[in-house]
Symmetry: C2
């Protein structure tokens, strides 16, 4: 904001008597507060009159240490106007005008800037004020407050220095509250303060009120560049060059005795969002006193919750209270949101000091948005925009009370959201045992394998030392909605001795720990958690959302139970059903392992024949839940050795089942191990080398579909998805396998099944050859986890040693596994463009972890995808994000 | 080739008396042979006259089973002309015309089609021919030959049936060679043949010569669709619809007694390429006899190598020999290549039956191309195009005699070319021991690690069960030019018991095995190998190559010795110096391991300080060899744990050095292990998390460069290459580290060093962000190994279980790690385009394995790269390929 050349610049905008010079939309010049004060003045609300000095003056002053030419004159003129409006004279002991000098920034500065109140005081004026008001206590209180502010803001003294003296004076008089200090004590304090100022700064505040004003304005401007605001702007990525304006306002006093007061009111309940006027106040106090919490505030009204003995504003100041409720209605309908108002009652007259959009809890955020829309104050699309997606995340999972986060002893990757508290156990067997005794447990492992499934499902939370967002632990935990942290390298595990070290702290089996799967924080002991609550308002909001969104939201779900939950959350289909997860259950994993270690086709087919009815039963249950909504079934994807047993006992057990020696099994398993399994023998490569596996799976799908249709009369819509395709020939060959198997299976049922066949797009090569693939695919589903891994050359399981460092150092602006990287996006766009060009009817979705990330969903909307698919608990978030993306794109 | 509509089609083209109707470039219609016969006729060479029936007739006949309208008439007319030219009459027993009916295909059919000779024979004509020539033996020999051909080609009898009868007749007369059979015996055979034909086919060849001709022509056409030619075309990817023509020619007879003969001549030596007329002949025989090798052939001339008792054509048929040498000169200067000629001498008259480009050995291929260019017969650019790049591969490494390949017991990936024979050993220790006793060894391991280096360098060849083209074994073997096979899954290793199983064959320590690192074949026992020979001609060819090529060829080399070799081979710089390989040597690996297991920066720096002078000495040696040519030094790239010790003994040793317990070391190593190391903590990620490593390496480079310049007065041109960059920030930060380190190091020497800093482009993301990277890079070097791995999502180390299957099944047309995949190419092009747009001076190279692959080099040329870099032994091949690519692009 530089000075316009040629025209005579305007630096000061006055307000008062229902008239304000600053126009709306002028906050870059006068700050948000300056704009709102002007607005409130025009609305006829009782705002203390004053004027705002623009951000241009701040900029000029910070760069040159001087006021720009003409600014002082304009300030002087505004002061003269203010004197006229208030019928007082600045610096006149007999009828003094006292001023507040406050910062007013275009965007929030986090309350980090300084203000000076009671400007225009000196000893003479204090005496005059005492005489004029007959309130000596008030007069000296104003003076000592002024001295405290001036010392801190204009002279740079630590506030603590004078506050210690204030405490000492209270002790001297034996009072607890500073409002109880006597006038002589306060007068004495002003002298004590001045001596201290001489002593520590060799200076005193000027007696001349003009000098006080110039110094205060300059000090507020200068506070823009002091360390705390600069740090705040850095931390929040805010620019340093929008500067602050300064408002100079008539001081009004809540500390002028029993007919005076100060308080804070919310137009609605900031905790639960209920529509009730709500707040607290302090008799005979200035505004800072409420904020600083030095005295116990009193309720505004009955709705604010009263206890016996409370002093209720509505009762004690009925006139001011009526005026206040009028102001609340005017303001809410003008600003169309829940507001926080600071007010002062000076000798029974109400003043609105300032107002701003009120902070609120996640719950309240949803309720207020929905209520405002219902009341016709905002539209439903505005309500949709008002609710942040993170808010839903907080509503749908137990949350750690943020105060507790200071006790964090270790950090990992938050892999499945929510909080869990329980007894630490170091093996799945013990998890099952302890849980069997009715205890809540947190399972701590180096990493998990299918053998841990049982223990994981019995645990409230899972914590692993290794692994990433797509590791076994993370995937299972998200599916089962257990809180989970992975990649927590700070742990040193000794599972055999049943303890772990975190730093030099020992945590033994049975010790209580708490994990926050949202933030990845590990805490020792029990920690306060906030339980999620369902709400009618959320349901109403989500109902509106679907009218706005273009993207459909599907769910990544492998069980009928997850599907049920997702349908309740509004999922419109299953975007990813990972068939391998169906093998994890006890009883099945053994047969699956027989299949894996089979040397030849015959024993492999034998094991598959046993697995087939199990998969079929699972698919039937899912189809019944989804009732004709699309169910996208991904054929076996991960490397087989992910399922193999570890440890002597399990290998021995498998050997016994197979009638082989453990040595033979071990050698076979060794020969299956891979150096880089992510890039190894998996996905459609398995399907091509062992076609009998995919044949079994397709048969299970088709038979399940036919039986559900025939026996239950329920419509079905299964879709077969081929994973890890890199070359069109792979897809062609496997599509033929699917079709042949389907035709054969359908004949037995006399059913004419429609079976879409599509492919995951999860490798750069499949993006680049999207045109070729689209000619043989009915749909693409972008697997952005693997796509991110291969585009970056980063294994999600191994990035713990450098990726957090990268994000911290700003090498990567954001973890690309959380939010879609632009280069990943570019390849997705290439695939979309080439795919649609060859096959305009191609269905396009995304089923990676990004499917639940609002920023990535916005990308998917822009890229023209048809759906995103995410884990059950993220479905509502994705629906909201999809709607917001649509609104954003159309605005 | 369909019939032109409207015009009267021409189906027959005659040749004879120096006149030929078929124009040049007409081989699609008359076949290569038809074209060449016409050409030779026009050149005035003694070609037996005749005519060619076009491929259109073949197509029509195969589709309709009939000759097209007008064809029979045209053939009849051509036959009449032929009768006039030869002054004989077809079917006239007193002066008969005998014909050969041979296939003539537009492109080679691998000699798979059938021919019928001596057409126009019957008993009466045999009697007449005997009378007219006074040679009864000849007449009956022609008849029995005709019967054999007709039975096989026109009647479909197995040739063996009549041949058995021929053998029986030879036994009956007690002769070894069929030329010794008496006339009565041959006459008797014709009757025996006919009885057999009745017996097995209930049919006889027609007596009518016309019928014989139609049937023979039709049979040759039909042989186009018989199983062997169809299989040959499938195997070589040749189209099935170009069909064959048929040539009908005057039969000439080498079997008309002592003044007749047949033979085969080469215009140059097909084995070593020497310019000498060369060949062999058989007195009194027909052409087939030479081909079938039934009798021992005799030398053409002294240059063909004579033994006492040999019958030399030059001496026995001086006139015909003179005529033949004249023909050779005419033909070679006309066809401008080394030719093979089939000839017949009929009663002292020479006939050239056919000629074709002669097959030759790799050595001869180079020598002939160079000699022809020197002689002015072709240009040097033609010579460059004439030599196949694979040919150089064969010349530069020992080769297995192809006959031995039938004894292959196992196959893996040919990872480093050449053949090696030696005693199998199963540990590096034993390799060193056995080699110390002066024995040649082949080291067999599951996979190799740095601990094996010593043993590998002592071995003639290396064979591993696991790993791919970029595995440790493969990389070390190529660098050291040892034959190497990796990923040989057929082996079942028992190193502790010192044996392995291949199928059910046991190979114990000390057994001789042979490996072919070119084809990936493993053989048991010693196998004939062909040793490579240097040649002046190759050097001359390569000198021409550099005038033509635009791409420069650099070498991937890590030692001064490799650099020396590469400079001798014509490398123009080092495109990839892998600094980690310098740590593999004994003595260094221990210090390197200390560095790796260091928990903190201080001990890490301590180990680095010890490594620094070693690296510096290596760089100095390299700079001295390269004398100012660019040396591109890649900073540490692979995951650290690739270097860690395995096994109790080694861990114990390291623990002792470090004064820690093995347990501590083991735990530390475990914590370093990664699930997917390819995508883990490596490359610039190491450089950023442990900056002291790159600092040490850059200091070693800079100090080495300064000292070589100052002390040796040798110019230097080092370039620093940052590996595995995925985001521009990584490169920015590390470029700053390099520059700061350089500036500091240079100051001490008072030298102003130019140090280019560039990056490997080996991840999809670095291709896509090529524009951003180019703004901070002096050069890009495409690492197409990793790029292929990430684009396909295939680990080179783990693809053994499916990639060979993919190539075999045609899912992938070619192994993408051997020849650049089009999608990889597309990303390279994107990077080139975006990079050059932002930085027109950007230097572009390729240093993956593809840098030595001719097809990939052709791509690099087209993509506008500046250089390719490959292993030392591939430098000549790459230079040739670069020149051929330039010629291809400009033609």
């Amino acid at each position: 904001m530089t000075l316009p050349s040629g025209t005579k610049p305007r630096f000061v905008y006055s307000f008062g008597d229902g008239v304000a010079e600053a126009a709306p939309e002028m906050h870059a010049l006068v700050g948000a507060k300056g704009e709102r004060l002007a607005e409130m003045t025009r609305l006829g609300l009782p705002v203390p009159p004053g004027f705002t000095i623009t951000t241009q003056v701040c900029e000029h002053m910070l760069k040159t240490s001087e006021f720009p030419a003409g600014a002082r004159e304009q300030i002087q003129a505004a002061l003269t106007l203010l004197e006229a409006r208030t019928e007082t004279t600045y610096g006149d002991p007999d009828n003094p005008l006292l001023l507040s000098v406050r910062p007013a920034t275009p965007v929030t500065a986090g309350g980090m800037l300084e203000a000076v109140l009671n400007v225009g005081m000196n000893r003479d004026i204090a005496v005059g004020l005492a005489a004029r008001t007959g309130d000596e206590r008030y007069a000296w209180d104003c003076y000592r407050r002024y001295l405290q502010d001036y010392a801190a803001v204009c002279m740079g003294m630590r506030r603590g220095i004078l506050e210690t003296l204030l405490e000492r004076a209270k002790d001297g008089e034996g009072v607890y509250d500073e409002s109880e200090l006597s006038a002589p004590a306060l007068e004495g304090l002003t002298e004590i303060f001045k001596r201290k100022m001489i002593e520590s700064s060799s200076a005193l505040p000027p007696d001349d009120p003009r000098e006080q004003l110039w110094a205060s304005i300059e000090a507020v401007f200068r506070s823009w560049n002091s360390p705390k605001p600069v740090g705040y702007r850095n931390a929040h990525g805010l620019p340093h060059d929008h500067y602050t304006a300064v408002t100079v306002q008539l001081m009004v006093f809540g500390n002028m005795g029993e007919h005076s007061a100060t308080g804070m009111a919310f137009t609605r309940d900031p905790d639960n969002g209920e529509k009730r006027f709500f707040g607290e106040w302090l008799p005979n106090a200035q505004g800072e006193d409420v904020r600083m919490g030095l005295r116990a505030p009193q309720p505004l009204n009955k709705e604010s919750g009263t206890l016996p003995g409370d002093r209720v504003l509505e009762r004690e100041h009925p006139e001011a209270y009526r005026e206040l409720t009028r102001a609340y209605r005017v303001l809410e309908s003008h600003f169309r949101d829940m507001l926080r108002m600071a007010f002062t009652i000076q000798q029974n007259k109400l003043w609105i000091i300032q107002t701003r959009i009120g902070k609120r809890s996640p719950r309240a955020e949803v309720r207020i948005a929905v209520d405002l829309a219902r009341e016709g104050i905002i539209t439903t699309t505005q309500a949709i925009r008002r609710v942040q997606t993170q808010t839903l995340d907080k509503i749908l999972h137990p949350q750690i009370d943020t105060d507790s986060l200071r006790d964090v002893v270790a950090r990992g990757l938050g892999a499945s959201p929510g909080a869990a508290t329980g007894h630490a156990v170091f093996s799945s067997k013990e998890a099952v045992e302890w849980a069997g005794r009715g205890l809540s447990v947190v399972l701590v492992r180096s990493e998990t394998t299918p053998d841990d499934i049982h223990g994981m499902l019995k645990s409230a939370g899972i914590l692993t030392r290794r692994g990433g967002m797509t590791s076994h632990a993370a995937v299972v935990a998200r599916g089962a909605s257990r809180a989970c942290i992975v990649g927590c390298l700070d742990l040193e595990l000794h599972p055999d001795e049943r303890y772990m070290m975190v730093g030099d702290q020992t945590i033994a089996q049975g010790d209580i720990i708490t994990i926050d799967g949202t933030s990845g924080s590990v805490m020792v002991g029990e920690v306060e958690t906030v339980q999620p609550k369902a709400s009618r308002e959320l349901e109403e909001l989500l109902a509106w959302v679907d009218d706005v969104a273009r993207l459909r939201v599907y769910v990544n779900a492998d069980t009928a139970r997850d599907c049920e939950r997702a349908v309740r959350f509004g999922a419109k289909g299953v975007g990813l059903c990972r068939t391998e997860h169906m093998f994890f259950e006890t009883g099945r994993i053994d047969i699956f392992r027989q299949m894996i270690v089979a040397e030849d086709e015959a024993p492999r087919r034998e094991a598959l024949a046993k697995l087939m009815p199990m998969q079929k039963a699972d698919f039937k249950a899912i189809f019944r839940v989804m009732r004709g909504l699309p169910v996208t079934i991904r054929l076996l994807d991960p490397p087989l050795h992910e399922f193999v047993p570890h440890g002597d006992r399990e290998i021995g057990a498998l050997a016994e089942v197979l009638g082989d020696t453990p040595e033979v099994i071990r050698r076979r398993l060794e020969s299956m191990s891979e150096i880089n399994p992510m890039l190894g023998h998996r996905g459609c490569r398995l399907g091509l080398t062992y076609p009998e596996i995919y044949e079994m799976q397709v048969r299970a799908v088709v038979e399940a579909a036919c039986e559900v249709m025939n026996d239950d009369g329920v419509p079905v819509n299964p879709q077969i998805m081929i994973p890890l395709v890199s070359h069109v020939r792979e897809l062609e060959l496997l599509r033929d396998v699917v079709r042949t198997t389907m035709t054969r299976a359908c004949e037995a049922y006399g059913v004419n099944l429609q079976l879409a066949v599509g492919t995951m797009i999860e490798l750069p090569r499949s993006c680049l050859t999207g045109g070729q693939l689209a000619e043989v695919a009915d749909f693409f589903s972008f697997g952005t986890n693997d796509l991110t891994q291969t585009i970056f050359g980063i294994s999600r399981d191994d990035c713990g040693r450098f990726l957090p460092f990268y994000v911290e150092m700003g090498i990567l602006p954001i973890d690309p596994f959380v939010s879609l990287d632009p280069s990943v996006g570019e390849l997705v766009e290439i695939a979309v463009e080439r795919g649609r060009a060859k096959n305009p009817g191609l269905e396009l979705g995304m089923c990676g972890e990004h499917g639940g990330d609002p920023r990535s969903i916005a990308f998917c909307h822009k890229a023209g995808l048809d759906y995103v698919s995410c884990s059950p608990f993220r479905v509502p978030i994705a629906r909201l994000a999809a709607a917001q993306a649509a609104l954003e794109a159309s605005s």
